[in-house]
Structures are given as C-alpha cells and as structure tokens.
C-alpha cells in the first residue's frame, strides 16, 4: 500500500522539477493518443514542439509563438495574484473580450482621425478599464453578497460572447464592409494598429507589455507587501486577517489586476493579430491562461516559460493539423491533460510516497 506522508517542509527540489516532469509525462501520453489516432507519435511530437522553434520554417513560426504567448502571459500573470490568494477569477476570457470591445470602440469612434500619440494610449486605457469593469462585477458581488465568484465571472463570459457577436454584426459593423459581419480592420488604421515593431519578429506592443509585466510582477511578489499579503491570504486566511490584511480590499485589487491585464491583452490582440471585432474573436486565451498560470506555479518566471510552451502547442498544433491531418481538438485535450498531470505530480512537493507492507499484525 502506498501512503502519502506530509513533508515537514515544502520540497524546493520538487517545486522546480514537477512542471518539467509534467510536460514530459504529457508528451508521452500525447504520443500514445497520437498513436491511437493512427499517427506517428514521434513525428507528431516533433512537429508540434521542435519544428516551430528549430525547424525549416521556424522563421515563420517563431514570431507566431511570440504573438500567441503575449496574451497568455498577460492574462496569466493577472490571474496568478488572485489564484495565490484563493480568489478564482475564471472569467478572464470575458474580461479579455470586453477589453477588446472597449479598445476597438475607442479606435472606431476616432476613425479616421490621425494622432497615434493619443489614440493608441487611449485604447490601452480603454482596454484596461473595460476588463476592470467586467471583473468588478464578480468582485463586488463576492464582497457584498458573498456570491461565488467562479460562477459569476464564468456566466459573464457567455454574456461577453453574446455581446461581441452582437457588436460585430450591429453597432461595430464596418459600413464599408459590403454587409459582411466584422468591424473595420484596425491594422489598416495607423493610429490604432498594433503591428510588429521589427518586421518578422512578431514583437508587437503586447509582447513588450508582457515582458514588462513579468518583471514588475517578480518584483512585487518578492519585495512588496502586497505580494506578501496575497501569498499569506492563500496560505492561511485567518493568519492574514491577524496580520491586518483587509480581505475585501484584497479581493477587489486582485480582480482589478486580473481584469485589467485580461482587458489590455484583448486590446493588443484586437488591434494586432486579430485585427477586427468579429464573432470569432474569442479564442479561449482566457481559459488557456488558467493552465499557463498553474503550469508556471503562479510564479512570474514560470508563467513566462509556461506561456511560451502553451503558445508553442497552439502553433505546433496547427502545423500538425496541416502537415499530418491531426484534428485541432487534440490540442485542447493535450492542454487539459497537461493540467491533470501537473496537478497529479504536484503532490510530490508537499508529500512523500512511502511503501508500507499491507500486513496489519500486532
């Protein structure tokens, strides 16, 4: 019989090793899945993970990875504060969508005025504000009515989804678009476009923002009282109260941060890679970011790496779809499996496995 024995101290070794172990195990399980589907497992893994970074067409794929990683990292960093404190914002996808809508709204209302110096920053502000407002709903309801924030934030995702579909064929529809759904293409509007700063690298303002946010987050968690209070609340809510942490204020701030970052990710996305408001804009980044946050152990550097990894699965996944006819749904299974495996091996950081002989004799 295998027993779990609680360790005296969280194991530092396993804290670093478990994410790596989880990735390796998932690759193995994924390989098995591909084999069941009748595809060559080694080739599949290589196509997804190796080729986009080092292969023949890497010059094309690498920027794509960066572009996909940016929103994941931005959102995941925002989520990490709340998650650390036991505050579950599951509705980041909704905040992302509303941020995009608000930012696009600002851009479209100024069209075709020039003046990037104030329009672009204003869009950023709108994106942040939109995400924050959407996140304030579950936050306020939790603080004042003790309503479950998981369910409220999630319901609002569905609402946001309906809204963006409505706007794309209604209020925000491109008047010069021959009646097709979708807003103007923001990439064609110089004041609002979020294009690559250096051609061919995928480096747009969102990527730069993501890097900045990672660095800032690292500093906050290591050295700032807020970071300490977040960790304390997650570890031991009663101790946090004893230490003087105002629980309600913490909840609000964590939601504001995750809402704001999700919103600004939406802004960079709609003015950049996605280019317009469309019904198909929601791309589940808000949910994948949850996996990124856990895989990165709620730590900024970890999230940076995990974001790059999951972006790689997206890019490699679509490459595998074209090259080997592997259905795109496989990637979602892969990501879900990754989270399962990570959660499973995580037990080793706090518990030791011990083999005990089954005999019960005296």
């Amino acid at each position: 019989m295998i027993l779990l024995e609680k360790r005296k101290q969280t194991s530092q070794f396993w804290t670093y090793v478990t994410p790596i172990l989880a990735v390796v195990l998932t690759m193995i399980f994924g390989g098995v899945l591909f084999a069941i589907l009748g595809k060559d497992p080694v080739l599949a893994i290589k196509t997804i993970f190796w080729d986009p970074v080092f292969g023949e067409f890497a010059f094309y794929y690498r920027p794509e990875v960066l572009k996909k990683a940016a929103p994941l990292i931005l959102i995941a960093i925002g989520l990490s504060y709340g998650f650390k404190a036991g505050i579950w914002n599951i509705g980041a996808e909704g905040q992302y969508i509303i941020g995009a809508i608000c930012a696009a709204g600002v851009a479209l209302s100024f069209y075709p005025t020039e003046g990037r110096w104030f329009i672009f920053p204003l869009m950023i502000v709108a994106g942040i504000a939109g995400g924050m407002i959407w996140a304030m709903v579950p936050a306020l309801l939790r603080v004042y009515f003790k309503t479950n924030e998981i369910l409220v934030s999630l319901m609002l995702v569905y609402v946001a989804d309906v809204l963006i579909k409505a706007f794309s064929i209604g209020l925000m529809r491109n008047p010069d678009g021959h009646g097709f759904p979708g807003s103007r293409n923001l990439n064609d509007y110089p004041a609002a476009a979020n294009l690559e700063l250096i051609a061919g690298t995928g480096l747009h303002w969102g990527v730069i923002a993501a890097i900045g946010v990672v660095v800032a987050s690292y500093a906050i968690l290591a050295r700032h009282q807020f970071g300490f209070h977040v960790r304390l609340t997650g570890e031991s809510p009663r101790a946090a109260g004893f230490a003087g942490v105002n629980a309600n204020r913490l909840i609000m701030v964590c939601f504001l941060i995750s809402g704001g970052l999700a919103g600004v990710a939406g802004m960079f996305e709609v003015s950049g890679p996605a280019a317009q408001i469309l019904g198909s804009f929601p791309s589940a980044y808000g949910f994948t970011a949850i996996i990124v946050a856990f895989l990165g152990r709620l730590n900024p550097i970890g999230i940076l790496l995990a974001g790059l990894l999951l972006a790689l699965t997206y890019v490699g996944g679509s490459a595998a779809e074209t090259a080997m006819n592997i259905p795109s749904a496989t990637i979602q299974i892969f990501q879900g499996m990754l989270l399962f495996v990570l959660l499973s091996v995580d037990v080793l950081t706090d518990y030791r496995l011990r083999w005990v002989a089954r005999s019960g004799g005296v």
Binding site: L151, Y158, A329, L343
Partner: protein, 301 residues
Amino acid sequence: MDINPILLAAAIMVASTPILLAAIGELVVERAGVLNLGVEGMMITGAVVGFIAAHESESATLGFMGAALGGAAVSVIFGLLTQFLLTNQVATGLALTLFGVGLSALVGQGYETTTQVPVPKIPIPVLSDIPIIGTIFFRHDAMVYLSLLIVAGVFVFLTKTRAGMILRAVGENHDAAHALGYKVRRVRMMAIMFGGACAGLGGAYISLVRVPQWVDNITAGTGWIALAIVVFASWKPWRLLLGAYLFGGVTALQINIQAEGLDIPVEYLSMSPYLATILVLVVISGGRAPGSLGKIFHASS
C-alpha cells in the same frame, strides 16, 4: 402573441431535464463535501458518447446508458486526483472541463451531420388524458420521468437511509467521520461517480432529445448553470427541482420569444439565462454549505 402556455409548460419540463440531472448529481457530490467544477466536461462527454452509442446501436436506451458510463468514467479521473493525490479541487474540476470539451470535440468528429435516433415519448395511461395537467406532466419521454425519480430517490437516500446519513456526515466533517471509522474516500468516490453518471445523462438528453444532434460545445454552459442551481437549492433536493424548472423556464421562454419574432433583440434573450443565474446567486445567499465542502482530506492518524 401566439405562445401556448400549456405547450410552453411542457417544453419547460423538457428544457429543464438536462440541468436537473446534472444538478442532482452534483448535489450529492457536494453533500459529500466535494466541489466538482467539471460538470460541464462530464455533461459534454455524456452528450457525445450518448449520441454515438445511440447512433451506432440504433437504440436510444443504449445511448443513455453509454452516456452515463462515459460521464462516470471521466469523473473517475477527477476522483482519483482529488481523493488520492490530494489535488486542489477547483483546479482539477477546471481541468476536467477543459479535457472533456476537447475530448468530446475530438471523438465527435464526423458525427455532426448524422441524424438522430428517435426517442419516443411515453404517455402515462389514464393520467395523460387529464386535460391541461395531462399534457404538461404526463406525456414525456422516459428520461423526464427518470430525472424526477432520481430527485425523489436522492431525497429519500439522504434523509432516511443510514448510507445517506454517512454521506452527509462525511460532507459535514470529514475528520470526525474518519475518526469514527468511516471510509471517507470510498464514499466520496462513489458520490463523484454518481455525479458523473447523472451529468452524462443530462448531456445525452441534450444531444439526443433537446437539440437533437451533435455539435461542438453543445452544452454551452449548462453544466455551470447546474452548479449555480445547487447553491440556489441550499443543497436540498426539492429546492433543486424548483431551481432547475425556473431555469428551464427562462431558457424555454427565451427560445419561444425568439421564434415568435418579437421585437426584442436576440442577443438580450440569449444572455438571459446567464444573467438570471447571476441574479439568483446574489439573491439567494445560500444556506449553510456542507462543512467540509472543498477541503482536502488527508487521513493522518
């Protein structure tokens, strides 16, 4: 306005059945002290497995059985992780949802355009001939009746049987239950599997009766609404029945209004079930949740 209230009432019962099934299963799981957020994943797994099973076997009954098994099988992953590897219940439930949605999309490929197996309505003799009430209540398919039986069964189980009392005790205080010698993990695993089977049935009802077809993401958040209903019900089976029918009501009503072509923008109607859920969550501040809900149980003697 041309909406027949009697037909609407009957339609409400049909619309409510998937939520009712998923919710009653989750109620049992939460009474045992476990928060399983993977309901959406289990439902959609049931939806696709049920659809395929019904299609391949040309029997709706086998379809539903397959759905129950599929939902239960997937719930076992959640159970093993949370009960034996002590993982965080929120994260594991989310992973189950993500995994289930992906798995069902993959498995369901190729079945999008197939036609459904008919699920016959079974009118209850004599009772179904009563005017008005007969039409509303007694001319449904077997699953509607089954869902009501399950609710009644759960009520009796929890309040009148020893096994039900043990389950409640485990959910109330798992340390005390363990100290008294009860097998906490075993009770919880069984509850989790029951929840998975019910969610699977609920999902299959959507793909086999309500829509009826297989499309990606067919459940569209029903699983999450079911979770909200458990809170609304204060973990009591009869209140859950009320909650499920309220939601079925909102859903059926908005579909009917849309079909009528009334001058209410479609979007607001589509949003209404979700906004209604939020409203309900706020208004009902909930009874007392089972004492151990969501807490990790580690037997340390």
